[in-house]
C-alpha cells in the first residue's frame, strides 16, 4: 500500500493505493518484481483497492509497518497514476510531481 494522499484535513486517515500481484485490470499501473524493494512478485498498482489507512497505526511494527520510501522515478510514476485516476466529471486531472 502506497500513501498517495496525506489528507491533511483528516486527522484519522491517509489515502492508500494498493499494489496487487493477482487480478490485474487494464487501467492498472504495471509494477515488476524488484529485488531492491519489497516487491517479490510482478504486480500492479490499482485504483480498485484505494482506501483509508489509519494514521494512528501507521508505522506500527505489527499492524502497519513502514516498508520503504519509493525511489524516483517510481515514486512520481505511482503518484501520477493516482492523480490520473478517472474522476467524477470524466476529465483527466492535473499531473505532476507530488
Amino acid at each position: 500500500m502506497a500513501c498517495v494522499a496525506e489528507q491533511p484535513k483528516d486527522p484519522a486517515a491517509w489515502k492508500g493505493m494498493a499494489r496487487v500481484s493477482t487480478g490485474a485490470r487494464p487501467e492498472d499501473l504495471e509494477s515488476p518484481q524488484r529485488s531492491d524493494l519489497p516487491f517479490t512478485k510482478d504486480g500492479h498498482w490499482t485504483y480498485r483497492y484505494i482506501r483509508s489507512v489509519k494514521k494512528a497505526l501507521t508505522g506500527d511494527p505489527v499492524l502497519c509497518p513502514f516498508q520503504v520510501t519509493l525511489p524516483e522515478p517510481l515514486r512520481t510514476e505511482v503518484l501520477d497514476h493516482y492523480k490520473n485516476r478517472p474522476r467524477a466529471d470524466a476529465t483527466t486531472p492535473k499531473t505532476g510531481s507530488h
Binding site: 494522499a5 489528507q7 491533511p8 484535513k9 483528516d10 486527522p11 484519522a12 486517515a13 489515502k15 496487487v20 493477482t22 487480478g23 485490470r25 487494464p26 487501467e27 490499482t46 485504483y47 480498485r48 483497492y49 484505494i50 482506501r51 483509508s52 489507512v53 489509519k54 494512528a56 485516476r85 478517472p86 474522476r87 467524477a88 466529471d89 470524466a90 476529465t91 486531472p93
Partner: protein
C-alpha cells in the same frame, strides 16, 4: 453505525420510499447508492468515479449517525435529509456490492472541485461538519468507520484469482483437437480427456496454454466464454435482488449464490437467447420456479 436494513428506511429519513424502492438509473458519478453484502446494508456512498467492474465512492452518513470534520455537510439529498459526505475517505468498491441507487447527490464538477481543494489543503466549496465535542469518542468513531469501509473495499466477487476455464467443445473440434491428442498433451487418461474436450470439467492452470500452443491458436479461441459472460452480467446491480433471493432460498452466502448462478449459466448457455434471458432462466431453475 449499525447495519442498514434493506427493506426499511432508517429513522428520520424523510423520503423512505426512495430507500425502499430506489431510483432507477445507470451507475454514474455523483449518484448516491446503498451498498450491501450478504443481505445486509453495509453503507451509503456517493460515486466519485465509474470504473470497469467497480466504483470509487465517498462514504455518506445520515443525520442519525456520528459526523464531524473532515466530513462535509450537504443540506439536500434524495432521502430528504441533510447528509455528511466523507471525500477524504474515498474507497474502491466492487460492483457486486452496489445494491440500490437512491438518486443523484452531487454534481460531478462539484466533486472534482472538492477533491482539488482537499488535495491542496484548501477549504472545499462545502462546509465542514463541526469538530467532535469529545475527541476520544471521535477517535473511536473514526476507527470504526475506517474498519467498516476497509471491509467494504475488500469485499470482492468474483474472487480475483477465481478462474474456471473450460474448453469450448465446438471451438476445440474445429481446431482439430481430439481426446486422444488431449490425453497425450496433458498426460491424462482417456475419460478425463473426453470430459475436458466436452467442456464438462475445468482446465488446470497452464493446460489451456499447452493446448493453444500445440494447435497454434490463442487461448481465448479455445475457451468457452459463458462463465465470464455470466459474471459480467451478474455484476449489474439490477440482478442484486435475484442474487439475494437465491442466497436466502438456498441458505448460502451471496458469493456462493453468485458462483452458483454463473455455473448454472455456463452449463446451459448454448442458446441464441440474450445473456439476460439466460440469466433469468438460470435463476428460475435454481429457485425452482
Amino acid at each position: 453505525m449499525t447495519a442498514y436494513s434493506l427493506t426499511e428506511a432508517p429513522a428520520g429519513v424523510a423520503n423512505p420510499e426512495v430507500w425502499t424502492r430506489g431510483v432507477p438509473g445507470k451507475v454514474a458519478a455523483g449518484d448516491l447508492w446503498l451498498l450491501s453484502w450478504d443481505g445486509v446494508g453495509a453503507g451509503l456512498g456517493a460515486i466519485s468515479a465509474r470504473m470497469p467492474g467497480y466504483v470509487l465512492v465517498w462514504p455518506v452518513t445520515l443525520p442519525s449517525e456520528p459526523s464531524h470534520s473532515p466530513a462535509l455537510m450537504l443540506e439536500t439529498s434524495p432521502l430528504g435529509v441533510p447528509v455528511s459526505i466523507w471525500p477524504t475517505r474515498e474507497t474502491g468498491v466492487g460492483d457486486a456490492v452496489l445494491h440500490r441507487r437512491l438518486g443523484h447527490l452531487l454534481a460531478p464538477r462539484l466533486m472534482v472541485a472538492i477533491e482539488d481543494a482537499l488535495d491542496e489543503d484548501e477549504n472545499p466549496p462545502l462546509p465542514f461538519a463541526h469538530p467532535a465535542s469529545d475527541p476520544a469518542q471521535q477517535r473511536v468513531q473514526d476507527e470504526e468507520m475506517i474498519d467498516r469501509w476497509e471491509a467494504i473495499c475488500l469485499t470482492q466477487w468474483p474472487a480475483p484469482t477465481a478462474t474456471d476455464p473450460r474448453l469450448d467443445r465446438e471451438a476445440a473440434s474445429s481446431h482439430g483437437l481430439t481426446p486422444t491428442r488431449l490425453s497425450e498433451l496433458l498426460k491424462v487418461d482417456a475419460s478425463e480427456a473426453v470430459a475436458l474436450q466436452l467442456g464438462e470439467v475445468s482446465l488446470a492452470p497452464g493446460q489451456a496454454e499447452t493446448i493453444a500452443a500445440d494447435l497454434g491458436v490463442a487461448v481465448t479461441d479455445l475457451l468457452t466464454p459463458t462463465r465470464a459472460t455470466a459474471t459480467a452480467v451478474l455484476l449489474d446491480p439490477a440482478w442484486k435482488d435475484h442474487v439475494l433471493r437465491l442466497a436466502a432460498h438456498r441458505d448460502i452466502s451471496e458469493a456462493s449464490a453468485r458462483d452458483l448462478v454463473a455455473t448454472e449459466f455456463a452449463l446451459a448457455a448454448r442458446s441464441s437467447n440474450s445473456p439476460a434471458d439466460l440469466l433469468r432462466a438460470a435463476f428460475a431453475r435454481l429457485l425452482g420456479e
